[in-house]
Symmetry: C2
């Protein structure tokens, strides 16, 4: 079958399996120690990049649909997924499938619920689907030059914006950093998310005050400078503060 036949065939199955008009898009962030990147699929039929996404089965809720979609694309389980926004504009997707019959499932109006996840990119072997020719990490600062479908660039920006807000009151880093890390490495992550450099002294003071760090009796060896101390997350406190929020008031 060529991809057009596959899509038409999928459409028939979709009417039986899924709740109409609802879709899920996932923004999966990874961090290479320096920059944030996001997982995208390149579709064969129009050479555009898509977020990993799909539909909600009649027996699922949105979160289980998002977890299933994430697992299909990354083989990852037990990843924390955070719903961040709903995208409900008219004519979001209709144009993309303009060459297809009007009763095509994909051509209907879809209200898409966005979830983001933070993953360790080393744990992920991205897997495309039958409609995509590749599934790849794209650095955030390369998105500008890519042909990205529909409103998916806007969805990524909204996810990043939510992440920026959430690091004001939630700990972050557990899935994005290796188990042991230095304070400069943690600062790099915050700077990559915020898109700006931070004052080192302020950052160290504030991050230590939150109470999620455990200093190890080890140093990162091998650099030209004084070997920096290694830290790990105090998991008990990390999850407690993830639940209750960082106290600002």
């Amino acid at each position: 079958m060529d991809f057009k036949e596959i899509i038409i065939n999928n459409s028939k199955k979709a009417y039986e399996m899924y709740v109409p008009h609802i879709s899920v898009d996932t923004v999966i962030f990874g961090f290479n120690g320096d920059q944030l990147k996001v997982l995208l699929l390149k579709m064969k039929f129009n050479q555009q990049w898509f977020l990993p996404g799909g539909y909600m089965k009649k027996e699922e809720n949105l979160e289980s649909a998002a977890i299933r979609i994430l697992r299909e694309r990354t083989q990852l389980d037990k990843i924390f997924l955070q719903e961040f926004a709903v995208f409900s504009e008219l004519n979001r997707s209709e144009e993309t499938f303009k060459d297809f019959p009007d009763d095509l499932w994909h051509k209907k109006r879809f209200i898409s619920v966005g979830y983001y996840a933070l993953v360790n990119h080393k744990d992920v072997s991205p897997i495309g689907d039958e409609l995509s020719e590749s599934c790849d990490w794209i650095y955030l600062d390369e998105l500008e030059n890519q042909n990205i479908t529909m409103d998916h660039k806007k969805i990524i920006e909204k996810a990043l914006n939510t992440l920026r807000e959430q690091i004001s009151y939630k700990p972050i880093g557990l899935n994005l950093l290796p188990e042991k890390f230095t304070l400069p490495e943690l600062q790099k992550l915050y700077e990559a998310i915020l898109g700006r450099t931070l004052n080192r002294g302020n950052f160290y003071r504030k991050i230590k005050n939150i109470g999620i760090l455990k200093k190890l009796d080890e140093q990162r060896k091998g650099g030209a400078h004084k070997a920096p101390d290694l830290y790990t997350f105090d998991l008990e406190n990390y999850f407690k503060i993830l639940e209750n929020g960082i106290t600002n008031w």
Copy 2:
């Protein structure tokens, strides 16, 4: 017509007007200077309290549907509505309409998108609809004793939780307080949202540091104590910081 006929009649119109499976619920918070309250409707047909809610017209997006629903219940326009979560569990609403025919619109599965709004309760004259016998403010600490429909108590809790998180990085108070207010009055609002008392010195220092307050050359007269200074919001800064967030890092 009795309410059962009205519901069945509405169901027919709904199939023509709205996108199936998608609904909107709004959590409208008010503040009386001491406690937070929320706007609820009491339904004639089962005597349960409901959040103001409705469906999305085929030509609307979710935000315009939420604004329309809010206007219908409160006559308020130009209110800032914030989407905060989606509720997609199975069997959310089916039980509520168990005595109705199976093809009833309201009995279908609905994925509901929650919006919250903060309003000045003095500006609002709550208006019920043809199915409700009243539309009233209920104080948060009275919710426990009320018969609240479906998952609407969970929706209110989630909205309140989001509000608690958002006051870590967004200014708040513009629609909840009178134009001129004292610092003790502003602190009361934060305490009502957080559900705990705050240290006065810390609160004053932090709230002044954000840069959204303008001290007026007036005092609140009439109390037994020294007349406290009146403040107002510096609207330019308020909206700038609402847009960019309070810098924590």
